[in-house]
Point group: C2
Chain length 324, copies 2
């Protein structure tokens, strides 16, 4: 199954969430409205809202309630992207100019703050303190993950474990709670909410590993920004950590990375990319991503065999094979 | 009365909040811990927590409940300061290095995000959706205020009204809800909570006007950063708006400001400062600040004559006369 087929089935509800997203960021402050809308219109797969909707199918599906969770989680994600683009000096994302590039870093920082603040006003419409607590803790972990990423920039001694803990915080947790909070907001049974959390966590891990693979193996057209952005900013990802474990590749890779670091990421990185592509780091990363997908699907075992379960499995397979 | 005398009376509770603040930002991520602690230890008047405590005296004062509100509001304030320092390229604040200056802009941005996220985990411990709603709306307004400040940088056509609306969002609202939410968290009567909101709003307006006066009239030692920081970044404050209304000062002021803008705030600003100091903008701003203090005190009329009321009045007078 393809993601687009899933969206076709849920089209009405996904469009409704899209409109709610637009409504949620509206403001009379022209610059904030423009910058936020620019970000929203740049698109994205809307995986978090879709997971909220699917999760809610395991309880009493009431769109008017769960929309608040869906919108909040997508806004939190969007806010973190604008701030990341500032940190990464990113000019494009999804083939569009970033807010910091179209305007400037200051405006991007405040646009992120604004979208984040708006996310809070949306979620406070649901007076469910369990939801608030789960969400606020995940946001703390996300910000720790961002700082960990900076701490490990160009650290060639880092382990696979360091990497996995970092992407858990940076990406997997928010996807995990998307599945879980959709179910909680729909008053699904506790056990189901926990299963959905584990599903989302494993899908999220696979998602980020595939994302990091794409940055090394994709074309600019496929990934919406120049390949190799990660290493340019010092972000050493899983395929690179694996490649460094190959004795014959270690010395040339260290040399390349020292050069990229010394030249502040402005270097020609084609030699570095070739080394990684011919290493076994690509294959090993793909295998680990597949293993996370298997675990995600296993996490759903024993849950009611409703359409949403099949859809979750479909998305998981889609992410396991994603090439864009 | 001096602020320090007020603090002496409330010493035990204020110290307790201070410890809770420290506890709240603790994390194993060394960099986030250091940067957050650096910020916390740099001090500040803790006006927001003190107002929360005083506000709570009008209801059932239970420190274990209201501490969550006090800590959250101070953390939100701290987070906004770190982001402001990034925007303003500020090197010092309260005589201490800023996070962006001691580390860098990226670390300051994520430290702000982290402290803000921590603020949310603290407030979610109080399952009172009214508190959550009031707080999240204020945060949205704050971020709009920040963007408005950027929009009006070096805009010499702005009105007193533009200025007042901006400082309402940027400063007065958070102080207003500090008074209000302390009372709400202590289950005080609705009418009292609203009176306290109006008190805090007016004190907050006076506070920001005095702060902007200090930037033009204070010494570096008094204000903990070089005077004239506002105009260097393009922030046109009330005394300047008033001074621009004096026909004989308008042309020389416009000339000075055009030069400061063209030189990206790196100019010698002593001529500009002299012009403002000899204008009637200083006196008119002082008068407006006093008027806000009067309104703040009027807002308390009819409230129970408890010690907290006297303390609120004391702080109001202190802020009305503040010279540091």
């Amino acid at each position: 199954m393809k993601l687009i087929e899933l969206y076709a089935k849920m089209k009405k509800d996904v469009s409704y969430i899209e409109k709610e997203l637009e409504r949620s960021i509206d403001t009379e402050q022209a610059l904030l409205r423009e910058a936020s809308l620019h970000l929203l219109k740049a698109g994205g797969k809307r995986i978090r809202p879709v997971f909220v909707l699917l999760g809610a199918k395991f309880g009493n599906y009431d769109l008017e309630r769960i929309k608040h969770v869906a919108v909040t989680l997508e806004l939190i994600h969007m806010a973190s992207l604008v701030h990341d683009d500032v940190i990464d000096d990113a000019d494009t994302r999804r083939g569009q100019l970033t807010v910091r590039s179209k305007w400037d870093n200051r405006i991007a920082m405040y646009t992120g703050d604004y979208i984040f603040a708006k996310a809070l006003t949306v979620v406070t419409k649901l007076p469910n303190s369990k939801i608030h607590q789960i969400m606020s803790r995940a946001i703390v972990e996300m910000s720790i993950g961002e700082m960990e990423q900076i701490r490990f920039f160009f650290n060639t001694e880092q382990t696979v474990r360091n990497y996995l803990l970092r992407i858990k915080r940076k990406t997997a947790l928010l996807i995990a709670i998307s599945c879980q909070l959709g179910a909680i907001a729909a008053d699904a049974e506790d056990g189901l909410c926990t299963q959905l959390y584990h599903f989302g966590y494993n899908v999220g891990m696979a998602f980020q590993i595939r994302d990091d693979l794409l940055d090394l193996c994709g074309t600019e057209k496929e990934i919406g920004k120049p390949p190799g952005s990660d290493i340019r900013q010092g972000n050493i990802t899983l395929p690179v950590i694996f490649a460094l474990q190959q004795p014959e590749l270690k010395a040339p890779l260290l040399e390349q990375m020292a050069r990229i670091r010394d030249e502040d990421g402005q270097s020609d990185i084609s030699d570095f990319i070739s080394l990684i592509r011919k290493s076994n780091g690509i294959r090993r990363s793909e295998l680990l991503a597949s293993r996370y997908i298997d675990r995600a699907i296993t996490a759903l075992q024993g849950m009611p065999n409703i359409q949403a379960k099949k859809d979750f499995i479909g998305v998981a397979h889609f992410i396991g094979n994603r090439t864009y």
